[in-house]
C-alpha cells in the first residue's frame, strides 16, 4: 500500500469557535472521500479569523476599494475589508512607485496607439484604463517570482522590467516573442486564451518540488475564464497546493461580448470556492486597492503555498485592438462613465491629498515616462533585417535532415533572388 491509498485523517470539520456555524463542506466526508490537506489549511486560516471556511473562500461582501471615483480615501468601514479579508494600505514608497508605473503605463499605451495609427506597428491591444491592474501585477511580485501575461499585458511586462524594444518585436511582426523569458521570469505573452494559466501552475509546481520560493502570477481576462483550461489550471493549483495567484482583469468585454453573456455568476471571484481556494474581487481602477489585494495574495501564496483568485473590475477604454470597432457593441456613454474612474487621475488626487506628490516629483515621473516612450519610438524606427534562414533554427534543438533540405531550398531561392532569378 502506498501513501495515497490511505489519505491523512480528515480534519475536524466543525469549526471550534462559537460564532462559527457553517461547516467546512456540505457534509462529513465519507471514507474514501477525504479531502486533501489543503482543506485543513483553509480551515485553520478561517478559524484564525473567526469566520467559516466558506466565508474565507467566498469574496468579501463588496469588492475591495480604498479610493472613491474622485480619488479620496474612503472610510475603512466602507472598504469592503473584514476578518479574513483584511487589506492594509501599502507604504508610501510603494504607492509612489505605483504612480510612476501608472504614468509610464499610460504613456506606453498612448505611444503604441500612436505608432499603430502611423502604421509603424501591426497591432496593439491597448490596456488604456487598466493600468492600475497592469502596474499592480508587476509590482506585486518579487524578482524570484514568475509572471504569465497575455497579449494585453504589455504594460505589466515592461513594468516588470522587460526591455521595451524586446517587447515590441512581436507587435511589429519580426518574431513571435522578442525577449528571453528566462531573463526576466516573464513568459511569452500568450495568445491562446488561458492556456498560460496551466503553464503558470507547472512552473510553481516545479519550484515547489525543488523547495524553491517562487510565486507565480497567472493573468487572464474575463472572457478567458470561460475556457476549460481556466478550470483545469485552478483545480491543479488547488490540488497540488502551489503558490499561484490567478489574476483576472475583468474589463467587461471579451472583444464584443459583455460579461453578462460570459458568466451568470455573482462574480468571477465566486469560482474560487469551487476549487477550495479563496477568491476576492477588487476595484481594478483603484491603484491602492489593487496593490493591497495583490500584495496580500502573493504573500499568502508564498507563506501557505496556496493558490488564490483575484478578480479586478476594470474597463478597456479603447477598442479590443486597432482592428476592432467598439462602437458596434457599446455606446460612448458607457465609456464616458468609466472615464470618470480613471485609475491614473484617482491615484494622482490621492497622492496629492496625501502630500506625496509635488511638482518636482511629477516632473521626474513624466520625464521617465517620456524616456520609455522615446525608446518605443526608437524601436520602431530601426527596421531589423530578420534572417529568413533563422526560421529553421528554432524548430528543434538541432535541425532535422528534412529541415536542412528545406533550409537549403530557401537559401538557394534567396541567392537566386539576389542574382535576379525568378525565385
Amino acid at each position: 500500500m502506498t501513501e495515497s491509498t490511505t489519505p491523512p485523517p480528515s480534519p475536524e470539520i466543525q469549526a471550534g469557535s462559537e460564532d462559527v456555524t457553517v461547516p467546512m463542506g456540505a457534509s462529513t466526508p465519507e471514507p474514501g472521500h477525504q479531502k486533501a490537506e489543503q482543506a485543513s489549511r483553509i480551515l485553520e486560516a478561517s478559524r484564525s479569523f473567526g469566520i467559516t471556511p466558506e466565508q474565507y473562500m467566498l469574496p468579501a461582501q463588496q469588492q475591495i476599494r480604498m479610493l472613491d471615483p474622485e480619488g479620496n480615501l474612503i472610510s475603512e468601514s466602507e472598504q469592503g475589508t473584514g476578518p479574513g479579508h483584511e487589506y492594509p494600505i501599502p507604504e508610501d514608497d510603494v504607492l509612489l512607485k505605483a504612480y510612476e508605473g501608472l504614468v509610464a503605463g499610460r504613456r506606453i499605451n498612448d505611444q503604441n496607439y500612436a505608432l499603430v495609427r502611423q502604421g509603424r506597428l501591426a497591432v496593439y491591444p491597448s490596456s488604456h484604463g487598466q493600468e492600475a491592474c497592469q502596474v499592480g501585477a508587476a509590482l506585486g511580485l518579487g524578482t524570484q517570482d514568475w509572471m504569465f501575461p497575455t497579449y494585453r499585458d504589455t504594460v505589466s511586462v515592461i513594468t516588470r522590467g522587460v526591455d521595451p524594444l524586446e517587447v515590441m518585436v512581436s507587435f511589429r511582426g519580426d518574431w513571435h516573442c522578442g525577449y528571453n523569458p528566462h531573463d526576466y521570469k516573464v513568459s511569452a505573452m500568450s495568445t491562446p486564451l488561458t492556456t498560460q494559466l496551466l503553464h503558470a501552475v507547472g512552473v510553481a509546481h516545479a519550484a515547489k518540488l525543488r523547495g524553491e520560493d517562487t510565486v507565480v502570477l497567472a493573468m487572464c481576462g474575463d472572457g478567458a475564464t470561460s475556457e476549460g483550461d481556466f478550470h483545469e489550471a485552478l483545480n491543479f493549483a488547488a490540488v497540488f497546493e502551489v503558490p499561484v495567484v490567478f489574476f483576472v482583469q475583468n474589463n467587461g468585454y471579451a472583444i464584443s461580448v459583455p460579461l453578462s453573456s460570459q458568466s451568470a455568476a455573482p462574480s468571477l471571484a465566486h469560482k474560487a470556492i469551487g476549487y477550495g481556494m479563496a477568491g476576492e474581487q477588487v476595484d481594478g481602477n483603484d491603484m491602492v486597492a489593487v496593490l493591497a489585494t495583490l500584495r496580500r495574495a502573493v504573500h499568502l501564496a508564498r507563506e501557505n503555498s496556496t493558490p488564490l483568485l483575484l478578480e479586478a473590475t476594470t474597463y478597456r477604454m479603447q477598442a479590443h485592438t486597432n482592428a476592432d470597432d467598439d462602437t458596434r457593441y457599446r455606446d460612448s456613454e458607457e465609456v464616458e462613465q468609466w472615464k470618470r474612474k480613471d485609475p491614473l487621475k484617482r491615484m494622482r488626487t490621492f497622492l496629492t491629498n496625501k502630500g506625496l506628490l509635488d511638482e518636482a516629483t511629477e516632473e521626474r515621473i513624466s520625464a521617465k515616462a517620456e524616456e520609455i516612450a522615446a525608446s518605443l519610438r526608437q524601436a520602431m524606427t530601426t527596421e531589423p533585417k530578420g534572417d529568413p534562414l533563422e526560421l529553421f533554427e528554432h524548430v528543434y534543438a538541432e535541425p532535422t535532415a528534412q529541415l536542412h533540405e528545406q533550409r537549403d531550398q530557401l537559401a538557394d531561392e534567396l541567392t537566386r533572388a539576389e542574382e535576379g532569378g525568378h525565385a
Partner: protein, 345 residues
C-alpha cells in the same frame, strides 16, 4: 474566374457570398442556427455573420461564452435535437480546444449509432496566411480534419463557391468542416448572388459536390497539372499564366472538396498531362498534399513522365508576419518546381 462570370455586371465579395449563404439557409430552414464568439452583435471579427442577429433575432444567431469545446460540444447537442448549427471558430488555431469534440463525437456519432444520430453541423474555420497575422492566426489545419473519418472538408477558392459550397455544407446531413481562406475574404468577383441562389436552389447545379466530390478544372492545359485548393488556387493560376510564357501549358484543378475526394478528376487531368505539381499552404509533412501526391502515383503511375512534386509550406511553425512570405508557396516557388519536372526526358 470562369468564363461566364466575366460578363456579369455585379461584383460580389467572398465575405458577402458567405454571409448571404447563411442568411439564405436561415431563411429557408428555421432549424439553421449560427453561433460562436462575437458572431452576434459584432457580426464576427471578419464580419461574415454581419446582420444575421438583427435579421433573424438572437435565437438564431448568437454569441456564446468564450470556449471552443463548448461551442462544438453544444452544437452536437443542438444537432441531436433537430437543429442545424453553423458554428464559427474565430481563427484556425483557436479551433484546437474543440478537437476532442470534433474527433471523438462530431466525426463518429453517426457511425457510433449506426446512422440513427446524424450531426448536420458546419464548422466554419477562417484559415491560412498571407494577411500579416500574428502567431496562432494563420495555421492551415485542414489535414487534422481531413485525416479524421466521418468529417467532410470543404474549402472554396472562388466567390461562387463561397456561396454554393456553404449552402451545400449547411444542407449536408454530415458534419462539414468549412475552411475559409482568410486572404480571400476581401476579394471580389463578377458574380451575382441571385443567380447563384437560383443555381443552388434549382437543385441541378453542376457544381454540387455530393458524395463523389466535384473538383473543377479552372484552367485548361496540356503539359502539366497543378492540383490545388483554397487559398493556393489563385497562386496556382498565376503560376500557370507565367509558365505559359515559357511555352508550358498548365492545367489547374481546384479540388473544392478534400473529403470526399474527386479521384476521377484527378486521374483525368494527370493522365492527360502526364505531370503533376501539388500546391498547398500547410506544412507538407503528412498533409493533404501528401495524400494527393500519393493518390496520383497510385492511380496514374504509368502516365507519369516525372515524379509528382509538392509545393507546400515548410515543416516549421507558421512564421511571424515579416517572414511569412518566405514560408508560403508563391508563384516563383511553383515555377521553380515546374522547372524540375524533367522536361528533357
Amino acid at each position: 474566374m470562369s468564363a461566364t462570370t466575366a460578363t456579369k455586371s455585379t461584383t460580389t465579395s467572398f465575405a458577402s457570398a458567405l454571409n448571404t449563404a447563411m442568411s439564405d439557409a436561415m431563411e429557408n430552414d428555421p432549424s439553421v442556427v449560427v453561433f460562436g464568439e462575437d458572431v452576434g452583435t459584432l457580426g464576427g471579427v471578419f464580419r461574415i455573420t454581419d446582420g444575421l442577429t438583427k435579421r433573424f433575432g438572437e435565437n438564431r444567431c448568437f454569441d456564446t461564452p468564450l470556449a471552443e469545446s463548448g461551442i462544438a460540444g453544444t452544437a452536437v447537442g443542438m444537432a441531436i435535437n433537430g437543429m442545424r448549427p453553423v458554428i464559427e471558430m474565430q481563427f484556425d488555431a483557436f479551433a484546437y480546444p474543440s478537437l476532442e469534440q470534433i474527433f471523438s463525437h462530431i466525426a463518429k456519432m453517426a457511425n457510433r449509432t449506426r446512422g440513427n444520430v446524424r450531426l448536420p453541423i458546419v464548422i466554419r474555420i477562417p484559415y491560412g496566411g498571407g494577411v500579416g497575422g500574428v502567431e496562432h492566426h494563420c495555421d492551415s489545419s485542414e489535414a487534422y480534419y481531413a485525416h479524421t473519418p466521418g468529417l467532410k472538408v470543404f474549402t472554396p477558392a472562388t466567390v461562387a463557391d463561397a456561396y454554393l459550397m456553404l449552402r451545400e455544407a449547411i444542407d449536408s446531413e454530415d458534419p462539414v468542416v468549412f475552411f475559409e481562406p482568410k486572404k480571400l475574404y476581401w476579394s471580389k468577383e463578377a458574380e451575382d448572388l441571385s443567380e447563384l441562389r437560383a443555381e443552388y436552389e434549382s437543385g441541378t447545379s453542376s457544381r454540387r459536390i455530393g458524395a463523389e466530390a466535384n473538383a473543377q478544372i479552372v484552367r485548361e492545359g496540356t503539359d502539366v497539372s497543378i492540383i490545388s485548393y483554397g487559398p493556393s488556387v489563385s497562386t496556382a493560376l498565376k503560376a500557370a499564366e507565367a509558365t505559359a510564357e515559357d511555352g508550358i501549358s498548365a492545367e489547374v484543378l481546384d479540388l473544392r472538396s478534400i473529403v470526399p475526394f474527386d479521384d476521377a478528376a484527378l486521374q483525368a487531368t494527370v493522365e492527360k498531362t502526364g505531370r503533376a505539381v501539388v500546391v498547398a499552404e500547410a506544412q507538407g509533412f503528412a498533409s493533404v498534399a501528401s495524400e494527393i501526391t500519393a493518390r496520383i502515383q497510385e492511380r496514374c503511375f504509368h502516365s507519369l513522365s516525372s515524379p509528382v512534386l509538392r509545393v507546400t509550406g515548410f515543416d516549421i511553425p507558421y512564421p511571424a508576419p515579416k517572414l511569412e512570405e518566405h514560408h508560403l508557396p508563391d508563384v516563383d516557388r511553383i515555377l521553380d518546381t515546374l522547372d524540375e519536372l524533367q522536361w528533357e526526358d
